[in-house]
Symmetry: C2
Subunit: 254 residues, 2 copies
DNA sequence: ACCAATTTGTCCGTATGTATA
DNA sequence: TTATACATACGGACAAATTGG
C-alpha cells in the first residue's frame, strides 16, 4: 500500500527544507526511524522519501549531528545518538529526585540564583500572602546524565521559609530543604501544564536547538493543613521528558 | 536600562526572519504584547524592536492574520483576535464535556471514524486483553466555539463495549456511552503528557499552522473495580488549551 | 469641510540565501 | 563547479484609510 508522507515537506512555508527535514527526522528518530542498531537509512533513501535533493538531506543531517542527535561515519552510515525520554511523575506527593531516581544515574540539581523580593500578584495569590510581601525566589536547574532536564523558578513565603536558598544550596533538594526548615511533608495541590516554543532563555538554560518545545508546569504545593508553601514554574525540555500523571488517592491502583 | 531582546532573531538559522518574528509575536501576544484594547504596536516600532525591515514585520503579521491571531485595519492599526486558553481538567473523574462546559458555549464532539480491529501490543497491555483480541477504535474530534480543540483515538475491549461507536454517535460523549452500556462510573488511572510539533495529520485535523505544537496525552481509564475500560491518545492544540492537573483525592482541597 | 499626523497597503528595484540540475 | 529559479530581506516612495484638531 502506498501511503502519503505523514508530514509534508512544504516549500515557501518560511522554514527552509533542510530544517523541516531535520525537525521531522528528530521527531521520527524517537518513533523508531532507525533500525535496531540505531542506524539511519542512507541519504539517497531519505532524499527519495522526503522528495528532495540529497544535498538537502545532508544539510539536515549535519544540523542533527551538530545537535548531538546523530553521528555520521564515512563509509558506514549515520547513527542515532539520542536516548529515551525520562518519565517525570506528577503525583500528590511527587518529589523531584525520587521520581527520576532509578531511571538515570547522574541526577543533579543546582541553584543558579536566589533572591528575596516583593511578591508579584500571581505569586502572592498562590502563596496566600499580600502582594508585595517578601518572598524567596529560587532559580534551579536539574540535569540527568549531563543533559539539562528542567529549569525551575520557585517562590516561598519568606516569613516561613527565609532560609530556603541556603538550605537548598546544602541539600540540593526542595524536599530535604523543607524538612530542614520544619516541614516534614507536603502535597501538590494543582498543576497547570502548557507547551510552547522555547524562548532564548530556555535555549540557553536547557541547551536546546531553535524551534525546540518546552513543557511548562505551574504548580502549587501545600502543607498537611492545606496552606500553600511553594509556587513554582518549571520548564522541561519536551524531547527529554514525559509527564506521568497518576491518580492522587490510590483508590484504583493497579 | 537597556535589556537585550528576550528572543534573538537569528539570521542564517534555517528559519526565515518573518517566521521567527511571527512565532515570537504569537508567543508574546499571550503574554500581553498588545495594549489593553488589543492593539499592537505599529509596524515601524516592531521593525525597530526586532531589528528588521518593516516589510519583514509585515510578512510576519500577514502570516498571523492568516492564522486568525491578528486583524489589520488600514489607517487604524493591528489588533489581536486571539482568545484565552481553555482549561482542560485532568482529574480522577475528568469528563471531557463537563470540564470544558462553562468556559465556552459551542462545545461539540464528533465521531470521525470507527472500526473493530485486533489489539496492538500497547492497546492490549493497557486494556488487559490478549494481543490481537478484538477492540473498538474510535476517532473523535472536539470543537469549542467552532475551533478544533482536540483529536482523540480511543480503544475499548470489544467483548465488553462492542456498541461503543454506535452509542457515541447518538450521545456524542464517552461518559454517556459508557452509561448506556452499563458502566455508571469510571476513573482516570494514569495519564502521560508529552509535547511535540504538529504533524501533517494534526495540522489538518486541528487546523493548525506549520510549526504549531500539540500536547499529547496517553491515558488509561478504569472502572470502579480497577479494570481498564478505555485506552486513549489525545492530541490537543497547545495554543488553545492548558491541562489542569488537580489532586485526585480531595484531601487538601481549598 | 479641511488639514495634519498616524498607520496600514502597495509598488518598485536590488541583494542574498536556498534548492535544484 | 556552474547556472538557474525562486524565496527571502531590505530600502525607499507613495497611496489609502482613520483619527483628531
Amino acid at each position: 500500500m502506498t501511503t502519503a508522507n505523514e508530514t509534508m515537506i512544504e516549500r515557501r512555508s518560511g522554514v527552509a527544507l533542510w530544517r523541516q527535514i531535520a525537525d521531522r527526522m528528530r521527531r521520527e528518530i524517537s518513533a523508531g526511524l532507525a533500525d535496531e542498531n540505531g542506524r539511519m537509512p542512507p541519504e539517497v533513501v531519505l532524499a527519495a522519501r522526503f522528495g528532495v535533493n540529497r544535498h538537502t538531506v545532508r544539510t539536515a543531517i549535519a544540523a542533527l549531528v551538530q545537535e548531538g542527535v546523530l553521528r555520521a561515519e564515512q563509509g558506514r552510515g549515520t547513527f542515532v545518538e539520542g536516548r529515551q525520554r525520562l518519565a517525570y511523575p506528577i503525583r500528590s506527593r511527587t518529589r523531584f529526585s525520587e521520581g527520576l531516581a532509578g531511571q538515570t544515574c547522574g541526577l543533579k540539581a543546582m541553584l543558579l540564583d536566589d533572591a528575596v523580593e516583593p511578591a508579584s500578584g500571581e505569586a502572592a495569590a498562590a502563596l496566600g500572602v499580600d502582594t508585595g510581601a517578601p518572598v524567596v525566589r529560587l532559580e534551579t536547574l536539574s540535569e540527568a546524565d549531563g543533559r539539562p532536564i528542567s529549569r525551575g523558578r520557585s517562590w516561598f513565603d519568606a516569613a516561613r521559609f527565609g532560609g530556603m536558598a541556603e538550605t537548598f544550596r546544602h541539600t540540593g533538594s526542595i524536599t530535604a530543604s523543607f524538612k530542614a526548615l520544619g516541614l516534614a511533608d507536603y502535597f501538590r495541590r494543582s498543576t497547570v501544564v502548557t507547551a510552547r516554543h522555547a524562548d532564548a532563555a530556555d535555549l540557553r538554560d536547557l541547551r536546546l536547538s531553535p524551534g525546540a518545545i518546552v513543557l511548562v508546569t505551574v504548580a502549587v504545593n501545600v502543607d498537611a493543613q492545606g496552606r500553600p508553601v511553594q509556587y513554582s514554574e518549571t520548564r522541561f525540555a519536551a524531547d527529554r521528558i514525559e509527564l506521568h500523571v497518576a491518580d492522587g488517592g490510590g483508590t484504583t491502583a493497579g
